[in-house]
Amino acid sequence: MRTEYSWRYTTLGLLLTALALFIILQMVRIQLSPQAQVFRDRGAAYSGGWRTIVPARGEIYDRWGHLLAGNTTVYEVGVELSEVENPSTIALALNATAGADYDEVFSAVSQEPSATAVYRVLADFVSEEQKARLEQLAMEMEVAYGGSNESNRPSLAGLRFVPHLQRSYPEKDLASNILGFVNREGKGFFGVEEKFSDLLAGSPKTVWIPLDPNRVEEIPDVPPGASLTLTIDRAIQTEVQDILDGALVTSGAEAGTIIVMHPQTGEILAMATTPRLDLNEYWRYNEVFVNPTPFNRAASKSYEPGSVFKVLTMAAALDSDTVKPNTPFLDTGVFEIGGAVIHNWNSGAWGPQDMLGCMQHSLNVCLAWVASQTGANTFYSYLQDFGIGRLTGIDMAGEVPGRLKMPGDSDWYEADLGTNSFGQGVSVTTVQMVMAVSAIANDGKMVTPRVVKSIYDKGKEYNSSPQIAGMPISDETAQTLTKMLATSLETESSDALVEGYRVAGKTGTAEIATPLGYTSSATNASFVGWGPVDDPQFLVYVWLEKPTSSPWGSVVAAPVFQDVVERLVVLMNLPPDDIRKRWMNSQ
């Protein structure tokens, strides 16, 4: 029996062996065939996907840790085409809740799903509330029509929500001119958002994410962007903005700028300008900043400062020993220089004066004479040392250098020496003026203004230190001029005086150049002041553009300085001079 059936076993064994060999050969053939790569590619396409990990944008804080710019979750709304039941409902719901265009959404959702049409983005930057409304709608529709078999029953099936972060500004328009904003593509515009955009944004990384859980790998750490701490004090910024807004109403000025800086460190404590933008609605930029309005007038708009510039003229003359505080000058009301005739602000003659009187009465004739005595080369050399006509290097985007015509320039004439001495014919930014005047308030040491106090990046904090931009004048000159300006304010009972605190300062009223020449009907009213004079803790610059209640800086800008300082001494915990001196003496 064994021999009878053995051939059958042998045949079956051979057949099975042949089948096994055939299978092995087929496997080898497929592996080596040209189509093998196609299969491998197809397999690889489903094995995972490349994903770009965008780090959270760094936060921005004020000097005390109040959040000025953070991040909030928003959603990309998309649709899985294969799951869509009713395109019309989806288009209608997105139009009603997220303001998406009905036709666009309908056409996107109506696509037939295919290998190339799987998922479509319908809307982005949808807020948490809008998402909740859509989910509520979806749920209500499911409850109401879920059991229906009708082909066109209302349904939001297929909707997907993909979360991501978006910039948010909890303080809305507070310090908006300093911060700038970030658009939906993550690009920073203006202020520190633009200046430090790369640092704040961090470094995105693209990584392969396998879908096969057996091949799961660690995702590399993508640290968030660097965070910034600003020198701004939120409380001071708020007060200064409020004071500026009030000053525009009372003075009828078109626009205004107030800067508060610590003159010893260069830290900007507040920088208020108009107009301002709620940064959460940055798309209204074109409505708010009608061309050519700069985003931050303090750094991006230059102007002829007028008599506040006399501070620099007098500083140059005192430091070069051209004049002393008691140098006499006979004001005849007229001074001719380079063919131009200079008059005083009231076109009057003020008779015998000394340098203190010249500053106190803001006499153009006297200061033009002082500049002529100083000499063009010396005068302009000092102005250059004060940083006039150059960028200050403030850590914000959009700074402009202004314009200082120099001897040797094709458009410089000797008459410019006279007009420049009282701040006409020279254009500066308020940031430049603040830096230049810091030399007088800070014993001759001129500090670079800065708004960034520290940068926190990858676990390390980098503090910025005061930058001495130069020493254009001696400490003796600075102290002498400070005393002169304090005395002049006290003598004329200026509206800038603050009870209990000795401050120094200077008003400025500049005519505005028009295509037809200078006009007295439109002026730039300014005031620069600092205090307490024996240990300055604040330097305040006020600029009101085209005030209508009065053209004079002494009338419209000086009271604003007073208002600011009255709030500053409270917010900065600065006791009155007599109390402070008593404490110092007791120690």
């Binding site: 959270a56 936060e59 804080y61 004020d62 000097r63 005390w64 840790g65 109040h66 959040l67 953070g70 991040n71 909030t72 979750t73 948490e128 979360p163 991501h164 972060l165 948010s168 909890p170 303080e171 809305k172 507070l174 096969d212 859980p213 057996n214 091949r215 799961v216 660690e218 995702i219 750490d221 965070s227 701490t229 939120r234 409380a235 708020t238 106090k453 520290s454 926190y456 676990g459 390390k460 904090e461 603050v498 009870e499 209990g500 009255e566 709030r567 001494v569 409270v570 915990n573 006791p575 009155p576 109390i579 404490w583």
Partner: protein, 159 residues
């Protein structure tokens, strides 16, 4: 010769016994293969489960980070200058003028310090290998580690 054949025959195993041994060996091999396959399936299934949970945890981390950012922004809105001012006014407070302030010397008073992000930040967690070596190293690596790299005698004493 015949005696040798008789001797061999006497001590040779019966054919059915040889077949039984062969079947036994085959079954033993089959059991070993099944055992190895079972262990392999068990390990890969566990690895896949853990891999899937790692993927899930990764999404959780992202969600938590977004949540943190949201909470911080919401807190900032609730404590914004405008809100705090409004709340203070509602409670009957008002902005004080410089003339209303009484200055007193407070020994040991430390004035408010500016923000120090380095100090306020939580200590960053050390980077931890998500997958333990059992899931990444080969058998050969494991043997080499155990045989050729004995543990440091100081390892026990480390905190």
């Amino acid at each position: 010769m015949e005696s040798v054949q008789r001797f061999t025959h006497a001590y040779s195993q019966a054919p059915w016994r040889k077949q039984l041994q062969l079947i036994g060996l085959f079954l033993l091999g089959l059991i070993i293969v099944a055992l190895v396959a079972g262990i392999y399936l068990n390990v890969t299934a566990r690895a896949a489960t853990i891999g899937r949970s790692i993927q899930g945890l990764r999404f959780d981390i992202e969600e938590l980070e977004r949540g943190n950012a949201d909470r911080e922004s919401q807190l900032a809105v609730l404590t914004s200058n405008l809100e705090m001012q409004k709340r203070a006014e509602d409670l009957g407070f008002y902005s004080v003028d410089s003339g209303e302030i009484v200055y007193v010397v407070v020994p040991g008073y430390i004035e408010r310090q500016p923000l120090d992000l380095d100090a306020s930040a939580t200590t960053p967690l050390p980077r931890i290998q998500t997958l333990s070596p059992e899931y990444t190293q080969s058998l050969f690596d494991w043997i080499r580690e155990r045989v050729f790299e004995p543990a440091s005698p100081l390892a026990e004493g480390r905190p």
